[in-house]
Amino acid sequence: MGNRGLSKAGIVLALVLGGLPLTVLGADAARQPDNRAHVDRAETAQAQTRAVAITEALFSYSSADLPAQRAEVADLITGDLVTQYAELLGQAEEGVRGQQVAFTSKVTHSGVRLLDPGKAEVLLFLTQSSTRPGEAPQSAGAQFVLTLVRGGSGWQQAKGSAIDLLGAR
């Protein structure tokens, strides 16, 4: 992939991620006295797995079928992220207007930094590939913190409630 391709991919990712308002998260979130991240290994692993699944679902979609994407992720997000994600897809729609682009996202690294009885914060490193008909796939990286709200029966049913893009614009 040449530099031009990378740059283009970066723009695509900026379009995809750029619309999300930042959520102010405490810088010292990990140093809360009731933080069970890595202390409760089972719940940490569950929250991590769930965060990865939600992230990959949110950022993998086809520009040709955004209504389907909205329906698919409806059960994965709650709170502020519902509005944020609607804005995001709106921006993505604008950014790829008239183009057929398929986005596929893969979490390459993830770590739980906070786990309390109701909430988890997971730092995720993501690679997003975009594919246009007749063109080679392009990839770009992103990093953000996804906040999860625990489900009634556990972290397997947790929903994403906020994304902190860590200053990405």
């Binding site: 140093r31 890595h38 202390v39 690294h109 770590g111 930094r113 200053g167 990405a168």
Partner: protein
């Protein structure tokens, strides 16, 4: 020297060169947030508290190490490089010492300074029994050269190892776009 250590060396040099490729502004008073936090006594059983303390220690060591390794300025190269050595351990430290003159020459020839600021850090994996952990760190790196300062977001994966003096960096690499 085995393969992982060669990679560590490559990563160190890559950090310098990547930093040199950008441009930048010195942020005075920049500190890793975790490093300045007031320690909080974790709740739970004594065993839980020990694990929580280990987690906070590795995240702090990883975050601070990543910041240090993304901070090297033309005007203070030797002090900054001393800081690299101070947070490193094992063969990574050996390599830093061995290649100090070479790295110095390369860096000063590039003439670009960088300052790292940790945005977020989290442990990906902790193996307390073996005394190793993997920490993910997202940073904003400000680069300064003859051109206008620029900022870039950087993500690194660091490995930390427990030593008699606490947790130290034993490896650092950019998280690749795969």
């Amino acid at each position: 020297m085995n393969a992982p250590n060669r990679r560590a060396l490559v990563a160190v040099v890559a950090l310098v060169l990547v930093a040199a490729a950008f441009g930048f502004a010195v942020l005075l008073g920049d500190r890793t947030t975790a490093g300045t936090a007031v320690p909080v006594q974790p709740t739970g059983t004594p065993a839980d508290r020990e694990v929580a303390t280990t987690r906070d220690d590795v995240v702090r060591a990883g975050g601070d190490g990543a910041r240090v390794f993304n901070t090297v300025r033309v005007a203070t190269f030797d002090a900054d490089y001393d800081a690299w050595e101070a947070v490193a351990t094992g063969e990574l430290l050996d390599l830093l010492r061995t290649d100090r003159a070479v790295n110095r020459e390369k860096f000063l020839a590039a003439g670009t300074s960088t300052t790292g600021h940790v945005l977020a850090a989290a442990a990906e994996r902790i193996d307390a029994d073996r005394g190793t952990a993997t920490v993910l760190v997202a940073l904003r790196v400000t680069t300064e050269s003859a051109a206008a300062p620029t900022e870039t977001l950087v993500r690194v994966v660091v490995t930390v190892t427990r030593t008699a003096d606490g947790w130290r960096l034993s490896g650092i690499d950019h998280a690749p776009i795969q």
